[in-house]
């Protein structure tokens, strides 16, 4: 049986070159970057070289890049740090209905501290509009927080437009770029963001390494206290091998970006067309064209996502049902609901995300394995095709009342 990993949006395998570098470093040096002796200086240099690489790729200055332990930490630092630092100026935050949990729940936590939220709705493709942002701005607005590439459906938000607006209004703007950095060209100045979060493990870098861009001059408050690492913006001994790995992974991702985007677009389109043409009652979610090259997300009516996921797993195909870190496990995706997908349909979502190592053969294997699985689960579903021609349950029979 093939082994197909189609869940690169959850986390990616570490690029072999990156793993090699990290393991080499692990064996060679063990200094603390804050130490003044040679092993410490080697560690410091390793960290700063990575910082320069990352900064250059994102169009930032090295001192605008803070290394963190991952995407969630970056997002928490960005959103809480920027909002709290402006508490005296105002208490209004604008965000969207399709943010990742890290943003969503951080904003909700700020609500309890006295901030008010405007959660912008999205259209059926998951798009926020800059006009909506403009209308939502009040004299109290201290932060605009909009995801760049949506992690469940792949829609790319109009961050450039929102960035221009934010700069016009002088309001700080954070974007969660966990799924765009390393996959799309991302330049903090082109995007016009003041804060930007990203995570190495989404672009074949290691777990345990994230980044936060903080534009020079942005008022910002830190979340944790301790040593003087990262200019005191993120304290604690730096995870040197992970930072090294992140720098290299981003470099590799960017060097290969155009080629791999084109490659994944072809694979993804083959997959999407294959699914849509063979499986009835199936919809592609997210924007049809303004989307990540490597992600496709579907709803297969009448069957539940996890049961599809488990069945595919039985065929050694790894996909996700919605997002990997859905916190309210049994609730349907807030993203799909925000896009107007009916609750029962939202329960049937599957996200397929391509990445390093995936081939056309993987796609074809998937396309061969999926239809019988959906068929089997539908046959088991009380929502699909009532087999009782004389069904007397009426309204109680979901299969009779469900649209076919």
């Amino acid at each position: 049986m093939r082994n197909v990993y189609f869940d690169h949006s959850a986390t990616t395998p570490v690029h072999p070159k990156v793993a090699e570098e990290m393991c080499r470093y692990l064996g060679e040096n063990s200094g603390n970057p804050s130490s003044f002796h040679s092993p410490g200086r080697i560690a410091r240099k390793t960290v700063e070289t990575a910082r320069e690489k990352v900064a250059a790729i994102l169009g930032a200055r090295p001192d605008e890049i803070v290394f963190t332990a991952g995407g969630t930490e970056s997002v928490n630092m960005a959103v809480m740090g920027a909002a709290r630092a402006r508490r005296k100026k105002g208490n209004h935050i604008i965000t969207s209905a399709v943010e990742h949990q890290a943003s969503l729940y951080t904003c909700e936590a700020l609500e309890k501290e006295g901030f008010t939220l405007t959660v912008l709705p999205v259209d059926r493709y998951g798009l926020v509009s800059a006009d909506q942002v403009r209308e939502a701005i009040t004299g109290q607005t201290v932060l605009i927080n909009i995801i760049h590439a949506q992690n469940e459906v792949g829609t790319i938000e109009p961050v450039e437009e929102i960035g221009a607006l934010a700069r016009e209004k002088g309001i700080p703007f954070h974007t969660d770029a966990c799924h765009s950095v390393g996959r799309l060209p991302v330049d903090v100045n082109k995007l016009g963001v003041d804060l930007m979060s990203f995570a190495a493990h989404k672009f074949n870098g290691p777990l345990g390494a994230g980044g936060l861009y903080i534009r020079k001059g942005t008022r910002w408050e830190r979340l944790m206290y301790g040593g003087s690492q990262e200019n005191r913006r993120r304290v604690g001994t730096e995870n040197v091998p992970a930072i090294l790995g992140m720098g290299l992974a981003l470099e590799l991702a960017v060097a290969d970006m155009e080629k791999s985007a084109a490659y994944f677009t072809v694979l993804r389109d083959r997959l999407v067309n294959g699914v849509l043409s063979t499986i009835p009652n199936c919809i592609l979610t997210g924007h049809p064209s303004i989307r990540l090259p490597n992600l496709a997300s579907f709803c297969f009516e009448f069957v539940e996502g996890e049961s599809i996921l488990l069945s595919l797993d039985g065929r050694k195909i790894a996909v996700s049902s919605g997002s990997a870190c859905t916190s309210r496990l049994l609730e349907p995706s807030h993203v799909l609901l925000a896009m107007g997908v009916p609750v029962d349909v939202a329960q049937s979502s599957i996200r397929v995300s391509l990445g390093l190592g995936n081939t056309e053969e993987d796609v074809d294997y998937f396309l061969a394995e999926l239809p019988p699985i959906i068929e089997r689960l539908r046959a088991m579903s009380p929502l699909f095709g009532c087999e009782d021609e004389e069904c007397s349950e009426g309204e109680d029979c979901f299969a009779c009342t469900a649209k076919r």
């Binding site: 539940e304 049961s307 488990l310 069945s311 039985g314 009380p382 929502l383 087999e387 979901f398």
Partner: protein
Amino acid sequence: MYSEKVMDHFNNPRNVGMIPDADGVGQVGNPTCGDIMKIYLKIKDNVIEDIKFKTFGCGAAVATSSMVTELVKGMSLDEAMNVSNQMVAEALDGLPPQKMHCSNLAADALHAAIENYRRKEAGK
């Protein structure tokens, strides 16, 4: 996450399907809550002679449905009424905590089906 028994019942569910002229039908859940379990019963002399299920839901929902049908086939209705969701979960070597309360409703569907049968009988 799931025990081997859960995965076995998910992959090879027992007694899937419907009984066209069922003596009792029970259903719990609805499409918006994520899990729907529907149980069909064929009763003879107060004993469950045949039982089938249809389920929309996660792995746990399918496995508990399958397990409950296996557990109660051949039981008297009174015995079957004593089968609890907890017993179903235990028969599956346990369920992940977050699934215990939400997807472990198969016994409820069974009880609903028995009650449906009894109501029909009483109405006869």
